[in-house]
Structures are given as C-alpha cells and as structure tokens.
C-alpha cells in the first residue's frame, strides 16, 4: 500500500481553507503573467477578503467530483501553488486537472511537474480514473513541454480559442490514459 499517496519528491498536496486560498490567490493575481499562463479569464487584481469570499462560495457549491489542493514544498512547507482534479466522479471515469505555481521564483524547478504527477497518481490509484485531460494555451510552451514529459499526449487544438496580446492563439488539449501513466511510472 502506498501510504504517501499525496506526497511527491518535491511537494505534497494539502487542503487549503478558503481564506488561505483567497490570500494566496490575491497575492498571485497581481502577477498578470502568472494568470495569463494559468487561466483564460481576464486578469484582474483581487484582494484577499473578496477572494476568500469567492473560494468560500465555491466550496459550498462544489460538486462531489471536485478535489482542490494547495501545493506545499517538502523542504520548507511553503505554499507555492494550487491545483485540482475536477469532474472526477463520473460514469466515464474521466476528469480534468489543473496546476499553477504562483511563486514565480520557483518556476522551472520541477515543482509543478512533481505536484501534477502526484495528482495523476491520486487520479489513477485512488479515484481509479481511466483518463485525465487538461487544457493549456499555445503560448505556454513551458507548460506544454512539462506535460509532454509527464506522458500527456496531444489530442487537438481549439483554433483561435483565445485572443491575447493582440493575437489569436489555440487552446491545446492533452490527455493521458491510466495505462500510459502506469507504464511511465513503474
């Protein structure tokens, strides 16, 4: 049995209360580059109180298939990012995953990949899913490379699905099947 289901090599997944989510989200929202890499919603500066309110409301409306996490470093237990599995309890055993490292000085050091791989382990070995999907944006090349390295397969593009910086970009769809993940993590 795997007793460290939510722990990776660099990070662990922890629960975040809505106010903690709100506080971090408000901080990270002031980095518009982070938010443009993370989300297709218009970037917006947020304050901790209202952001906390948003996450409290989200928690109350949350459907049973939502598994939100905060990402914590193993080294100094710092909260550096957020992620989650969404729509994860369905008859098709198919879910969506998201990951973002808000602390930009830690980008490119493998924290996001590590946390994402822990979420995949949780998805395939605890939720017993058959596949996991994600979307990212054509301009987020670092994310696409990281997802390819973890074994995600390109499954198509929504042509011109977003407009940013005066230009149209594709929304990139990637997916990984349980067998693919298991053979990459033997």
């Amino acid at each position: 049995m795997d007793n460290q289901l939510l722990t990776g090599k660099l990070t662990r997944l922890v629960a975040g209360d809505p106010d903690k989510f709100g506080e971090l989200n408000a901080k990270w929202s002031h980095d518009s580059e982070f938010f443009m890499l993370f989300d297709s919603d218009p970037v917006m500066v947020r304050d901790a109180k209202r952001s906390g309110q948003f996450f409290r409301e989200r928690a109350e409306k949350e459907r049973p298939g939502a598994f939100p996490f905060l990402v914590q470093t193993l080294e100094d237990e710092r909260l550096i990012g957020e992620g989650g599995l969404w729509n994860a309890l369905s008859s098709n055993r198919d879910a969506w995953v998201s990951i973002g490292i808000g602390e930009r000085e830690l980008w490119g050091k493998g924290y996001g990949s590590d946390a994402l791989n822990v979420m995949l382990r949780f998805a395939f070995r605890e939720l017993n899913l058959h596949r996991v999907n994600l979307v990212t944006f054509e301009y987020n090349r670092r994310a696409i490379r990281a997802y390819e390295k973890l074994g995600f397969v390109h499954e198509g593009k929504i042509r011109g699905g977003m407009r940013r910086s005066h230009q149209r970009w594709a929304i990139v769809f990637m997916g990984i099947l349980r067998d693919e993940w298991e053979s990459a993590n033997r």
Binding site: S40, D41, P42, S90, S91, N92, R93, D94, H130, R131, N133, V153, E155, G156, K157, I158, R159, G160, G161, M162, R163, R168, F173, G175, L177
Partner: protein
C-alpha cells in the same frame, strides 16, 4: 440589416414556457437513445418537475455567459427541441453549443439544420462571437455528419473519454470560425 433573428421558415426560436413545454421535454428524456446521443452523462428520465427546476437554474445564468432557446414548429407551435450557447468567454469570443431534436419523428426533416443556421446568425451577428465549439461522441455518426455538413472542423479527439455498452469511445470536439461561416454564406 437583418432584424429577424428568431423566425425561420419551418421553425422559430422561443423562450421556455414551463406550462407548455415541461411535459414534452420530460417525455424526450424517457428515450435513452436520444439521451445517449445528446450527452456523455448517464441517461436519466426527468419528470416535468425536474425540467422546470433546471430551467429555473438556467434562467439565473441566462444573458451572462449562457443563452438558450426552445425550437418550435411554426405550423403548430409544438416544441421540437432546444439549443443552448454556454460557457461564453466574452474576452475570447468563444462559446460552446448544444442542440437536440426531441422526438424521433421530428428528426431528418431539416429542423436541426435550420436551427443551426439561425444559431450561427445569433452567435456571430448578435453576440459577435469569433468562433463556436460543438461536442459529440464517436458513436454519434449522425451528429458528426451534421457538423461537417455545416462547416465545422474536427479539432480535438479525446481518446477513450467515454464508456458505454462495455467499451471506450472517443470524445470529439468541433469548431467553426465566424469568418468560415460568413464566407460559406456569401
């Protein structure tokens, strides 16, 4: 300038009328073939009570990132089906659509084609969207033909995203750009 968006030759777009429509919509949900062609969610019969409740929920979102129409026959005003535009991302000009013609006896008569052309006009010339996205399943060959015939292109193939009848099926996503529609209708 075209001012008439809701009147077609054989059909019209109308608001949901709980007294008139709940009974018909409930009846359609009792046809598992219809439900399976429509959605990857488990087929489930709904009572008029549930239909009314769903429309009340939908009405809360309507006009923000969600628009919906009941499709009616001009000849006798009966409800033929429905169409939705949802997850509208105003900043990117993308929306997702659903459409269904409820009774088997009303299918193959061109109602869906006319409704889709009216939906294009509404999406591109009233909401000013850049593109429209549609989803279907590998086993729904009728919908695939319908989408291709009306100018959609296959953009994403989510491998084995569905399970039905004891096997896996791909989830398919199609897209059409406003320009492509305009060029085809010049």
């Amino acid at each position: 300038m075209i001012l008439q968006l809701f009147e077609g030759e054989k059909i019209r777009f109308a608001a949901f009328d709980a007294d008139k429509d709940a009974e018909a919509l409930s009846k359609w949900t009792h046809d598992p073939e219809y439900m399976r062609l429509l959605s990857p969610d488990p087929a489930r019969p709904l009572a008029p009570f549930h239909i009314k409740k769903r429309f009340e929920e939908m009405e809360k979102e309507a006009g923000r990132d969600f628009y919906y129409f009941v499709i009616r026959a001009r000849e006798d005003d009966r409800a033929l089906g429905f169409t939705h535009l949802r997850w509208i991302e105003w900043n990117h000009g993308n929306a997702h659509f659903d459409m269904g013609i409820g009774s088997a006896s009303d299918r193959g008569k061109g109602y869906g084609s006319e409704a889709l052309q009216m939906l294009f006009r509404y999406a591109f010339e009233e909401l000013n969207l850049y593109r429209l996205t549609g989803h279907t399943m590998e086993y729904n060959t009728g919908a695939q033909k319908f989408l291709l015939k009306h100018g959609f292109q296959l953009e994403v193939r989510r491998r084995e995203a569905l399970q039905r009848e004891g096997r896996y099926w791909d989830g398919l996503t199609y897209g059409i750009l406003a320009d492509e529609w305009a060029n085809a209708n010049r």
